[in-house]
């Protein structure tokens, strides 16, 4: 007895063992088909009695186990069914011979046997035999079941006769001593006449009869016999058989208490009295106690009370039996099986703790050297039993041990497939699922060390199985879910092996379906690299689409008649949180910025990283990146081109890391920051590229400019110079350019600028429109710089103190008081006084040219683009008017304007004015230039519009007026300068002319001759006032005195 049957359960004690075996060459498939049909006949109601016979079929049974048949009769092979294939009548005698040989193996214990011959007609046989049946083929054997039933009937007859024979043995007769194989030699030479020996024989026989009664379906009788046997054997200390008797008692009680069976195989066991209606329901309720009255045998009912063991007693008796068995080393298998049976009973009783003790004991039962296969079987069954009592972890542990046993180094052909299958079954016990989604929520909590080990084993097993895809999947899973628990060295090792595997079989995003039906979900590497934020980027400023403002205003008005409603505002706020307030343009490259970091201790190479989108056809342009070891946050920009219009949603990104392709959805990423992932794609717009005749500027415009400038150019000009800027407009997009608007804005307003800085004629350019893709149009802009030509303030102020212009006459004193503050308060001069001290000071002017353009389908939708060109002009000083003064000319309507001109350039230049000769100035030279001018009648100027007067304060008004006058004077003077070999450039005196000079140049509004007694000269009195009307001189003198400025020329 060396091969334990781990599947045994207590009910097996009541079964008859029948072995079904093939002889000769029988296709396995056919054999099992017949075997299955035979197995269906597992219980028979014999001769209309209440007794039920149970049959246990085996297709393989070790003959040495059969030798223990006397010890426990259910171990005895009582029936043999041989299935054989016989194609011709010639083979028949040979086949028949084989049948007999096979019978010899179990011969000593067989009650009866049958031979089923397939492939032969019955006629072949010489004479019909009851133990041989012929069937033409495996398909035409309808009577198999019937024959089996007959066979069982015959077995029953033998069993019944044996039972009756043994039961009626009188004590006077010589009772043979039943013994187990290993006992035989112990009893040699023993006194067979002693009381002790007789009692032993009696006890053993009682126990044997009990077994037979149980098999014959007489439960109550067996209980009685077992009880008697226990008493007899206890008195003679025959422990092995005492154990067997106790176990028999337990089995009978279990059968009584749990008609559903303890084996857990639904429907495998039937309740006693299968004719009873309650049977069906009980069968499916393991553990259900039979209600009273199931057994119709009333005599048995009486006996039950004292003979049958209670549930508690069953366990106690099992314990006792096992303790007796354990005294015998050779009974290890019996002990082990008893343990297993007890555990099954306890599992039904839901007494896990005690069951685990039995199992713990079973683990330590040392059988002889087990074969590897037996070890696997043993561990598997331990696992199954632990599972049954709810010890999932223990079960998983043993299953894993069994799996490891499958591939033990001592096995010549390791069963990797079986190992893998068993390992998969351990997953629930280690609370591990192969779905990475279960791990994405929060930090991983589990037995990392144990789980990692299991995953490693899965990887290895699947690799050895020859399924690299599977090992890649498991390895990816390990890397993804256990990343936090891997040491740096392990990380390296795991990725190294992953790369090795993927070189043969790249990881995919497909489900892997195992033959067992398990589906392994894909494992996206959301942690390699870890993405912390996803930000959709707006297009660069020059490509950003802008909506043309319709007269109706914002779409808000279309949505609701209310200007403000909290409900709408709330809704919109929510909408905005998901949707982004800028647009992408069809056909243009759009960007998404990810902040990623590499958790690995080595450089991480991410290949083929691109965006996953929905809603719009999107051409993703994958990127490859290499992240340094344990990098901090690292920005990565993923780009793509939307091909159609509509709402686009960024769902995630795909990567290829270590040869594993992953699709990472943003929804599954924990702790992700995003500004929304849906953006609108508007129809295509043209793209404009501008190139100019001027060099590109290194200067960036001051931040105060507000606009983003795509390109900026710079030019260096002398003050007063004019240059033409040729701008080439190229349509580099795919849509025709239909509309173009140009505006200019001067940014740097610190310098006072005279005249028009930038001027252009758009019509010439527009005539070339619409501009087809790839075509170029030109656009000319004139740049004219005319800054202040004046010099320092203090120089100019000298004029007022100049004796030439102003006399120290007391008469003029009231006016001077008024004049003085006005001079001081000139802001421009005051601020510039410091700066302009250095003549070579370079001034800069900055302007922005805005090109608004549109075309194609985007234009139809009302979008345009804005391109800005920054213009940076460095103005070098050319000539300066360092001193200005006037001299009266011969006529009162004329005067001489004296300008001290200073050449600050390094070139020789000429200065000319209207009607004057050219004045040649060498570099750094200063000369006076006198220009005869007609005095101006400023009154002819239109006054500023009335409304302006109302708002502007008098001082501003004054300045405005002065500016206008300056312009007038300048246009008359027409001062030009010229560097030899260069063009003629204008110089402006506008800035130079201060209030005082202006007054000198002004034509007197009133002129009269006023005779002074003390002088014979004529005196001109110039009046200038701010009033509108001139009523009378006297009145004027009196009323508008405070505003009056008068200068007396003597």
């Amino acid at each position: 007895m060396s091969v334990p049957d781990y599947m045994q359960c207590a009910e097996d004690h009541q079964t008859l063992l029948v072995v079904v075996q093939p002889v000769g060459i029988v296709p396995e498939e056919n054999f099992f088909r017949i075997y299955k049909r035979i197995s269906t006949v597992s219980q028979i109601n014999v001769r209309d009695s209440q007794r039920v016979l149970y049959i246990r079929y085996r297709h393989h049974y070790p003959p040495e186990n059969n030798e223990w048949g006397d010890f426990q009769t259910h171990r005895k092979v009582v029936g043999l069914i041989i299935i054989t294939d016989c194609s011709s009548a010639k083979d028949w005698p040979q086949t028949f011979e084989k049948f007999h040989l096979q019978k010899e193996i179990y011969g000593s214990t067989l009650y009866d046997s049958r031979l089923f011959v397939f492939g032969l007609q019955e006629e072949v046989a010489e004479q019909p035999r009851t133990d041989v049946a012929f069937y033409p083929s495996y398909d035409e054997c309808e009577t198999v079941e019937k024959r089996i039933e007959d066979f069982i009937e015959s077995l029953f007859i033998v069993l019944e006769s044996k039972r009756l024979d043994r039961a009626t043995d009188k004590s006077g007769d010589k009772i043979p001593l039943l013994c187990v194989p290993f006992e035989k030699k112990d009893f040699v030479g023993l006194d067979t006449d002693s009381r002790h020996y007789k009692k032993r024989c009696q006890g053993r026989m009682r126990k044997h009869v009990g077994d037979l009664c149980l098999q014959a379906g007489m439960l109550q009788d067996s209980l009685v016999h077992y009880h008697m046997a226990v008493e007899l054997l206890r008195s003679v200390n025959d422990f092995l058989w005492l154990g067997a008797a106790l176990e028999g008692l337990c089995s009978a009680s279990v059968i009584y208490h749990y008609p559903g069976g303890t084996g857990g195989k639904a429907g495998a066991r039937r309740a006693q009295g299968s004719s009873l209606p309650t049977e069906a329901s009980n069968r499916h309720r393991p553990g259900a106690l039979t209600s009273n009255g199931i057994n119709a045998d009333t005599s048995a009912e009486i006996g039950r009370a004292k003979n049958c063991l209670g549930p508690e007693d069953i366990i106690d008796k099992y314990k006792e039996a096992i303790s007796y068995y354990s005294k015998y080393k050779n009974a290890g298998v019996i002990e082990l099986e008893a343990c297993v049976k007890a555990v099954r009973v306890l599992a039904i009783q839901k007494r896990s703790m005690e069951a685990s003790e039995f199992l713990q004991n079973a683990v330590y039962i040392n059988l002889r050297q087990l074969s590897e296969e037996e070890k696997i079987q043993r561990y598997s069954i331990l696992s199954e039993l632990y599972e049954r009592i709810g010890f999932h972890r223990k079960s998983a542990f043993f299953k894993r041990v069994a799996a490891m046993q499958c591939v033990a180094p001592s096995i010549s052909e390791p069963g990797w497939r079986a190992c893998y299958k068993l390992l998969l079954e351990t997953l629930p016990g280690y609370s591990l699922s192969l779905d990475p989604k279960d791990f994405s929520k929060g930090t991983h909590k589990g037995w990392a060390a144990v789980q990692m080990r299991l995953l490693h084993e899965l990887v290895y097993a699947s690799r050895r199985m020859g399924n690299p895809a599977l090992s890649v999947r498991h390895l990816s899973f390990l890397l993804q879910t256990m990343l936090d628990f891997l040491s740096d060295q392990e990380k390296k090792d795991v990725t190294q092996s992953l790369e090795n595997y993927t070189s043969k079989c790249p990881g995919t995003m497909q489900f892997i379906t195992l033959p067992e039906g398990l589906r392994l979900p894909p494992v996206p590497f959301t942690k390699l690299p870890i993405v912390r934020s996803v930000k959709l980027l707006n297009l660069p400023v020059s490509l950003r689409p802008q909506k043309m403002k319709s007269l109706l205003g914002q779409n808000m008005s279309a949505k609701s008649p209310f200007i403000y409603s909290p409900i709408i505002a709330h809704n919109r706020g929510e909408e905005r949180s998901k949707k982004i307030d800028f647009q992408w343009v069809q056909g243009d490259v759009c960007e998404v910025q990810l902040m990623v970091y590499n958790p690995m201790p080595f450089e991480l190479r991410v290949e083929n990283m691109g965006l996953l989108t929905a809603g719009v056809e999107f051409e993703s342009l994958p990127a490859a990146l290499s992240l340094p070891a344990e990098s901090g946050l690292y920005p990565v920009t993923l780009v793509g081109v939307p091909q159609t219009t509509g709402q686009i949603t960024i769902n995630g990104y795909h990567t290829s890391v270590f040869g594993v392709f992953s699709d990472c959805l943003l929804d599954n990423l924990p702790g992700l920051k995003t500004n929304g992932c849906a953006v609108e794609v508007i129809p295509a717009l043209p793209r404009l590229q501008i190139s100019t005749s001027l060099p590109r500027s290194a200067h960036t415009l001051q931040p105060s400019s507000g606009d983003d400038i795509s390109t900026s150019v710079s030019v260096q000009l002398y003050n007063g110079e004019t240059q033409q800027l040729v701008i080439k407009l190229e349509n580099i997009g795919t849509e025709p350019l239909e509309k173009l608007e140009v505006t200019a804005k001067t940014v740097n307003s610190k310098e006072k600028l005279y005249g028009e800085f930038l001027s252009w004629k758009l019509e010439d350019t527009l005539s070339q429109f619409p501009l087809k893709p790839g075509k170029i149009a030109t656009f000319n802009v004139n740049i004219k710089v005319k800054l202040d030509f004046s010099c320092q303030e203090n120089l100019l102020q000298d004029l007022s103190d100049d004796g030439i212009s102003i006399s120290g006459l007391p008469l003029s004193s009231p006016f001077r008081q008024i004049v003085k503050p006005r001079v001081d308060s000139k802001p421009i001069n005051a601020t510039e006084s410091g700066k302009v001290g250095d003549f070579s000071h370079v001034k800069t002017l900055e302007a922005i040219l805005n090109f608004k353009y549109s075309g194609g389908p985007g234009h139809a939708d009302g979008y345009y683009r804005n391109l800005s060109l920054g213009l940076h002009v460095e103005v070098e000083p050319s000539v300066f008017f360092t001193h200005v003064s006037t001299l009266p000319a011969t006529s009162t309507r004329q005067c001489h304007l004296l300008l001290d001109v200073f050449n600050s350039t390094e070139h020789e230049l000429t200065v000319s004015a209207k009607n004057n000769e050219d004045l040649v100035l060498h570099a750094g030279e200063c000369q006076r230039m006198a220009i005869q001018v007609d005095k101006f009648n400023f009154e002819s100027f239109p006054d500023s519009p009335g409304e302006r007067i109302q708002f502007a304060n008098p001082k501003q008004l004054e300045e405005e007026r002065q500016q206008a006058k300056g312009l007038e004077i300048n246009s008359k003077l027409d001062v030009c300068w010229k560097i030899i070999s260069f063009n003629i450039w204008e110089a402006s005196v506008e800035g130079v002319l201060n209030q005082l000079v202006l007054e000198h140049l002004q034509l007197a509004p009133l002129q009269w001759v006023y005779l002074l007694l003390c002088s014979r000269d004529l005196h001109y009195i110039n009046f200038y006032w701010k009033g509108d009307s001139l009523a009378s001189i006297e009145e004027h003198f009196l009323i508008i005195m405070p505003y009056l400025v008068a200068t007396v020329f003597i």
Partner: protein, 139 residues
């Protein structure tokens, strides 16, 4: 005297596990992990008893060839498992009990730390030292 000390969260994942460095660490992981079956079983059996009368000490969970595994469960279902060398027969049940009580006190101190998030792994030097002292004591 203890060869392995583990603190298991209510949800049966380890908060702390430490074993003597000379032995195979994974083995103790397996031992402690499988012992949870018994702990669960004992707790569910105890669940019927009144809460205030509940004994926190679970006693011997199961003996293996080389080790004995003892268990202890707090009222908040945090489990302490201690693996003791079975050759150490001098160790009495009462001593085990007092060791668990010490462990419990130390664990309470860890929980009192405002910077400790319940459910996180325990990284406390004080707790570590206490466990070390329990491992060193006799052996």
């Amino acid at each position: 005297m203890a060869v392995c000390v583990a603190v298991i969260a209510k949800e049966n994942y380890p908060l702390y596990i430490r074993s003597i460095p000379t032995e195979n660490e994974l083995k103790f992981h397996y031992t402690v992990h499988t012992s949870l079956d018994v702990v669960d079983e004992k707790i569910s059996a105890m669940g019927k008893a009144l809460v205030d009368q509940r004994e926190l000490y679970l006693g011997l969970l199961y003996p293996t060839e080389d080790y004995k595994v003892y268990g202890y469960v707090t009222n908040s279902k945090v489990k302490f498992v201690m693996v003791v060398d079975s050759s150490n027969t001098a160790l009495r049940d009462n001593e085990i009990r007092s060791m668990f009580r010490k462990l419990h006190n130390s664990y309470t101190d860890v929980m009192c730390n405002p910077f400790y998030n319940p459910g996180d792994c325990i990284h406390s030097r004080a707790f570590d030292n206490m466990v070390t002292s329990m491992m060193m004591q006799v052996c």
